[in-house]
């Protein structure tokens, strides 16, 4: 669907699909009609998980590199917030001002991700998954073993966001808006730059790295740069996540959670940045309400089965199912809408995918 080509056109608000405005309005007004539980535990949490999964989607969907070390980057940022800022565990907690701790944490996560990328791009394809999984697991074991920096098994607690202008950022509504701001900002940035020189290059490297080299591109540097950018996204989400939980421990970055991020991205769909957020909402709803369907203890069986079904039957996830439905609708009444639909697609990325499957 890259026929909805945009690189020559300049951006204009008139071109945006009306559905985007409706969605934006709903998201902004959401706290007016939702309970605190739904604002904080469901919505804010979904936005944070979706942002971490977005950093994976960007690498996997556009770059063809499935990195399982995204949560580790986010986790590193979270740990650094505890180490540099304040915590209630009587270990570390250097007491830096919150804004400095945030900046350093995010940059460190980006640096970590860059290093992961530098290692991973030494090889190609399926190796990336193996190497990043090995890194993620090694990082998990390391935080569990190391007491000097990471306070070992128990990790850190009491990591709280600041109070600004009398507003406690951890109150559900402010925290929701903070998460929404971060998530939509990165969503827009990824969507916008997917059609920049860098974004297009990344997709071209996914399609055919050898040809990109033959065109004069340093494909390794492009891939590493993509890891850097995704590290910024993951790191920022990691800061939000540690504020959300108020604590972090090796369990927060364990393999099961690492895999959860992959599950979210795959279930949502990796062809468009909206996918990770769809996946996150589905995941969080399932996590919270699976208890009503079956034994809560068996949540992993449910989510694992859902994941398997998606991989086996709908490789593009919820997004793929949604587009399949749209296509069928279009087929049902072809003449009337097909034309306008196409121009619609060309101008609003929100309902169309930017890239073909890997």
């Amino acid at each position: 669907m890259a026929s909805d080509h945009l690189s020559a056109e300049t951006f204009s608000f008139k071109d945006v699909n009306p559905a985007v405005y409706v969605l934006a309005a709903v998201l902004l007004a959401y706290p007016l009609f939702a309970s605190n539980f739904f604002i904080f535990q469901i919505a804010a949490y979904s936005l944070i998980l979706g942002t971490i999964a977005l950093s994976l989607m960007m690498l996997a969907g556009y770059g063809g590199m499935v990195s399982l070390a995204q949560l580790s980057a986010a986790g590193l940022a979270g740990y650094l917030m505890a180490i540099l800022g304040q915590n209630s565990s009587d270990v570390m907690g250097l007491g830096w001002p919150w804004w400095l701790a945030v900046i350093v944490s995010i940059l460190s996560a980006a640096l970590f991700s860059t290093l992961v990328g530098a290692i991973a791009v030494r090889t190609e394809g399926i190796y990336t998954i193996m190497i990043t999984l090995a890194i993620a697991v090694a990082f998990f074991y390391f935080t569990r073993q190391n007491y000097v920096l990471f306070n070992g098994f128990s990790g850190y607690a009491g990591i709280l966001p600041p109070t600004l202008f009398g507003i406690n950022l951890r109150d559900p509504v402010p925290f929701y808006y903070l998460s929404l701001f971060v998530a939509s900002g990165f969503f827009g940035a990824v969507l916008y730059s997917s059609r920049s020189a860098f974004g297009l290059s990344l997709q071209a490297i996914r399609d055919n790295p050898r040809r990109m080299r033959a065109l004069g591109y340093n494909t390794s540097m492009h891939r590493i740069a993509a890891f850097f950018l995704s590290g910024i996204i993951a790191g920022t989400a990691g800061v939000l996540l540690v504020w959300f939980n108020a604590r972090i421990s090796p369990g927060s970055i364990g393999v099961d959670v690492v895999i959860d991020i992959l599950v979210i991205a795959v279930i949502g769909g990796m062809r468009h940045p909206i996918g990770p957020f769809l996946g996150a909402v589905a995941f969080v709803l399932l996590e919270n309400f699976a208890i009503d369907l079956i034994d809560r203890e068996r949540f992993n069986t449910v989510i694992g089965t859902a994941f398997l079904l998606v991989v086996l039957f709908s490789p593009d996830g919820i997004l793929g199912i949604w587009q399949g439905l749209l296509r069928r609708l279009k087929l049902a009444r072809p003449s009337k809408h097909s034309r306008s639909r196409q121009s619609d697609n060309a101008s609003s990325d929100a309902t169309s995918t930017d890239s073909a499957p890997t």
Partner: protein
Amino acid sequence: MQQSSTPATPGIDALSRLQSAGRYALELEAVSRHFGALVALADINITLEAGERRAVLGSNGAGKTTLFNAITGDFLPTTGSVRLFGEDVTDLPSHERIRRGLRRTYQISLLFDGLSVIDNIYLACRGQRRGRYSLRRTRRDDSSMHSAETLIAAVFLEDVRNSLVAELSYGQQRQLEIALALAGAPRLILFDEPAAGLSPVERSGLVEILQALPKHIAYIIIEHDMDVALRVVQSVTMMHNGRIFKEGTPEEIENDPEVQELYLGQGHGTD
């Protein structure tokens, strides 16, 4: 890097570049390439003058494509040196060689299936310019986009400008392949069997495109179709089992009894 300061010229007519190019576009000195015990290239010496057009002929497995890979840097030669436009590039990675004006096409289409035709060409034009890491969307008045629009017209693909590469016909994909090689400011192009799989009409179109290339662009063409190959070159190198077996003008090669016996007249269709 010096090319990054190039003004917004359409890719094909970087004529000014010619003066600084020096005498030789390419000099291969004693280049060999081994794959384990297999000798794919043995002691290859080729010099190509600036603007010279040459065909490399030989049966399958003669080492022609390996030769291209050694020139582009896809494989490093086991021994020997490669000089491009007077500069030793033996140890330079391929993207550095591209920046010095080298291009190639591939036997099988190596295009970006998930992107549109214009994006393919745009990336090819952008490859040698600044701003490859830019996160801003490209505007229509961008110089690379401008070059891309010129090139898409030169290879007659305007009609499918926004189509995905995966949706193109085979012939169109071959045209796009050539457009990618023409992007930037090429001074030496390696064509790897550009006519393979094309219809007779498409073949004569290809000959036209090749003959219409600016005079300062040197190229080497691997081609099994003698009608195409001998019409678009000034010199011919025959290869056999990884070695150079004969060199000469198209006429000399065509009339050489040994060559005739070995290759000509035998149907070498596709690889």
